[in-house]
Amino acid sequence: MDKKYCAYICSGCGIGDALDVDGLVSMVGKEMAMDCKKHNFLCGDAGHKMIAADVETGVNTVVIGGCSQRVMTNEFNFGPQTITVRANLREQVIWSEMKPAEGKEPHKEAKAFLNETAADYMRMACTRAQKTELPEPYKPETMNKTIMVMGGGIAGLTAAKEAAASGYQVVLVEKENELGGKAAGWRKSFPSQYPWTGLEENPLAVMLADVQGKASIDIKTSTEVARIAGAPGAFRVSFKSAGSASEWDAPVKVGVDEQELINKGEKADPNAGLQPYTAVDPDAVTVGAVVLATGWKPASVDQYEHLGHGRIAKVVTNAEFEKIAKNGKVPAKVAFIQSPGGKENDEDFPYCNSVTSMVALKQAQYVCDDNVDGQAYILYQHMRTPGHMELFYKAVQQNDGVFMTKAAVTKVEENGDKVKVFAEDTLLGKELELDVDMVVLAAGMEPVTLHEHSINLAYRQGPAFLDLDLFDGYADSHFICFPYETRRTGIYTCGGVRKAETLEETIDDATGAALKAIQCLESTERGVAVHPRSGDATYPDFFFQRCTQCKRCTEECPFGALDDDERGTPLPNPTRCRRCGTCMGACPERIIGFKDYNIDLIGSMIKAIEVPEDDEDRLRIVVFVCENDAYPALDMSGMRRNGLSHMVRFIPVRCLGSVNMAWIRDALSAGMDGAMLLGCSYGDDYQCHFVKGSEIANKRMQNIGDTLSSLGLESERCASRQVSITDFDKIPAIINEFVDEIVGMGPNPFKGF
């Protein structure tokens, strides 16, 4: 594409008062060799018309100097064939100007500092405009839009029904020989409608009728998924009969060292008899996206010895009690124990969420329904009945025979044909002894992914979801921000495998997961990213001639998008990709890049920053800012007029994971005095949109710090910091303290080389 450039600088919003806009216009003309125009209200009608008129006459690359790239996106959208680059002169220049301390005069060069900052942002924007190209979407050659639903319980049935109702073909796979899952064993279910008070008939039969006999739903019972290979739009699924072994079972990941040992015969091959993950099963069924609804397992409670499960026959779990209730009459005097911690801690059984509170209420109702003068004791540390379930709680509480108290259950003892329960710290102000016929423990709901791979992917990164320990075995990529998503594009979870939840929540959940799968199929077909960069038409391009097969991209991709080809070269699967650029940041050969975001582009932007020599008041520090949370936080800091040092230049990046250390070297060798990465927190409570980006970037920064030390540069010149989107008030301290540190170290000794 032949580019025709024009830059525009807005003098509205106070930019004209704070900056020498005419000076900027002429700088752009001279240094960047671009036409540049000034307008006092660029986002207004007149401003928009001015640019649109230029676009009409052939301008196809527009540079806007004005407000942040996060605002006025529609006003500055000139169609899909026009590239628009923004320079953030408002939020990050004039609104972030450092104010003098109270009673102090402003720095005598304050005005000059501000204009220099603005000029650098214009230079960077113009450079970006010169380097960026229009994306061409990756459209898969073959596109299958069938949705496979794994698991035929409430979640799976709902997902299948909803996907079919939206016009998609569905394959519904169930391990057992009947559909229904856990719900088939429930005697009654929680209220799901007004007045939310009484137990309802199990809705399973109705749900089964919705699914069975539908032409668009192919039901496979007694069937398991041996492996899933391929990528969204073209997953290849190998089925097998339930419980059997197959050569197409997904192989586990074998590391390089491990493979050597296996080759030497010093270690047994864990994948003996299995097809390699790269093999293509000729009998595989092709599907486009997968909904994982493989459910949960009742947690074991045998480790709580004082509660006597496994030792005393009359102590059962809630799941076992439900079975008793389903098959007949429940005993007349029953104690429900919700929390196992005794006096030491008040935690409930693991994996209980709020469900076990409501199960206890439901089963207490059975006790009262089945027995005249039935007595149900609910001994809890917490009763959790969210939303309308509060009304259910109230209704059950009305039973004369339901007795509830907060209590620390210390002991359960066998007492003839009865069971004796001892509890302390009760609301009755006394220690309690209860003689009951049966004790029910509120065991939690463990997701199947806690114990097994469940998804069985034939990916290079292995058959299971990664880092499950971050979420106690749940397969989410981020529970709050990205519901239903897993760390494998095209695979969405719902039901008990995603969260310990009620039937009603499961139905909502499954509908959401089905819609998410549909979004994936449609985005994949159009060749754009599904999420979180929904609609992004770029994708990473690999210049394989220079690939050394180091596999860092393959290993570090948080989404397992890369496999190996037969020669051992990374094999990208663009439809699995989320466009975070972590591969680009990883590549030591710098051969991975996007059309509008690559090593050269950002490197050139860094080099476009003017670095004055021998001026202690004009050090230069580059900060790579994650676009997802840190950049908005920075804008918000500007909106609050928090002052930031004039020595800092911010460059937005897709994810800290995409920051290639070459850029840090570029910055320091260009004479800049420091570099910082500003992104999301990682670890247990990570907020990274791409799960691993900030964690990987932090590791890389530590490594580069060591390299700097060996060159005689202070390793502290490179830093990485974590913020969340709400941390805007912490931004000035983070930035300015770092600047002070750099000032303390003095200028980069290599300046001018």
């Binding site: 509480q397 007795f403 108290t405 907060k406 009755l428 102000g429 006394k430 002894e433």
Partner: protein, 402 residues
């Protein structure tokens, strides 16, 4: 504590005004609102869970239950509509039954269905006595006096007169004393039985070991008198916020009862003791007699007080803050009936209407007898149980107890 919930007890409380008790979710807002609550005794939060767990024995031996004025602050503030105040009322009603003697009579007073018997019993007794007075020597009571005789004697010859035969003791007073005295005696015995049972149960429940027994004088001086004084001053009652109106109804009522008690005593002494020596002292008190003034003021205070309480309860029920129970209304009706019939009888005497006057006086006797007879089992019992509970509360923390 080995818990044995009494489901029957829960059901009884539910029918006696505590229908909301199971709603309590133990947030303790009531304990914050209640002036009786202390840090170690979250009242009535604790009583609410005892009630919903059917722990009958815990509740009827809990002095706090009897100290409650049912001011309604807790019910007003309760976020769950559990009406702790009403539940406590129901618990007290249950407790009176629990301690009562004779149980059969007590049981009778718990239901509106029994109202014909409750009214019929005294009505028949008095009617029979009236008829009987004809069989006893002396002027028969079985007559309607002439206007003149009515003006002179008022109701003092309702049961006739034998002043000729037994100058030292009036026939009328004989009958009145026979009816009311026996009724009062039953009530006193019943109350004594009740409070001793309660006292013993409370001692047992509080696991009190007495150092030494207080003498009667010590008991009265240290425990009873201060309790009575406190009642008279309505000191704690005034701490109620939501229903501060009830003090303005209850206080006149209490004072009216005291006033009427004094007037009745004086009338007894004057007519039936001094009257024997100085016959001129017989006959109704003059209008401007100071005692008569007290009596009339008291009668009006009584009607005023009961009217306030009546109004108050109606309003609370309309606003859903109180339950409509026979237990509460029976006492209000009864006191109102005593007051109305008494005052009306007096007005008819002044108006010289012997026939109507005698009929109303008859009704008045019936209501007064009901008041005496049912006092130990109905809401009226609070005057003894509450006082004893107040004594117990003082005793519990005194030096008599280790």
């Amino acid at each position: 504590m080995n818990v044995q919930p009494d489901l029957e007890f829960i059901r009884e409380l539910k029918t006696a005004g505590g229908d909301t008790l199971k709603k309590c979710f133990q947030c303790a807002t009531c304990s914050v609102a209640c002036p009786l609550s202390t840090e170690s005794k979250p009242f009535p939060r604790k009583e609410m869970i005892w009630a919903s767990w059917g722990l009958k024995d815990q509740l009827v031996t809990d002095p706090d239950v009897f100290l409650c004025h049912q001011c309604g602050d807790c019910t007003e503030k309760c976020p769950r509509g559990a009406k702790p105040g009403e539940t406590l009322g129901a618990i007290r009603a249950y407790a009176y039954q629990q301690f009562a003697w004779p149980k059969g009579l007590a049981k009778l007073t718990t239901s509106q269905k029994n109202l014909p018997i409750l009214i019929g019993l005294p009505a028949v007794v008095i009617l029979v006595m009236w008829i009987l007075s004809a069989l006893v020597p002396g002027t028969s009571g079985l007559h309607i006096p002439s206007v003149e005789a009515f003006a002179e004697h008022g109701y003092q010859q309702f049961f006739g007169d034998w002043s000729v035969m037994f100058k030292w003791y009036g026939k009328n007073i004989f009958f009145i004393a026979l009816i009311m005295g026996v009724s009062a005696l039953i009530a006193i015995i019943s109350c004594w039985m009740g409070v001793t049972r309660m006292w013993k149960a409370m001692i047992a429940n509080a696991e009190i070991v007495a150092n030494y027994r207080p003498s009667l004088c010590q008991f009265v001086g240290r425990f009873l008198w201060p309790s009575l004084l406190e009642t008279l001053q309505h000191k704690r009652f005034k701490e109620c916020k939501t229903n501060s109106d009830r003090v303005s109804g209850h206080l006149p009522l209490v004072l009216a009862f005291i006033g009427l008690f004094l007037a009745t005593c004086w009338s007894l002494i004057k007519n039936d003791i001094l009257g024997l020596i100085w016959p001129s002292l017989h006959g109704p008190l003059a209008f401007f007699d100071p005692i008569k003034l007290i009596a009339n003021v008291s009668a009006i205070a009584m009607l005023y007080g009961v009217w306030i309480l009546w109004k108050n309860r109606r309003k609370m029920e309309a606003e859903g803050r109180a339950s409509n129970t026979f237990y509460d209304w029976f006492l209000i009706w009864e006191i109102a009936a005593v007051g109305v019939t008494g005052l009306l009888a007096e007005l008819l005497r002044w108006g010289g209407q012997p026939l109507l006057g005698y009929f109303v006086y008859y009704l008045h006797l019936v209501t007064v007898m009901m008041l005496f007879l049912y006092m130990p089992y109905t809401k009226f019992a609070h005057i003894v149980y509450r006082t004893v509970a107040m004594c117990f509360e003082k005793y519990r923390t005194s030096s008599f107890v280790r």
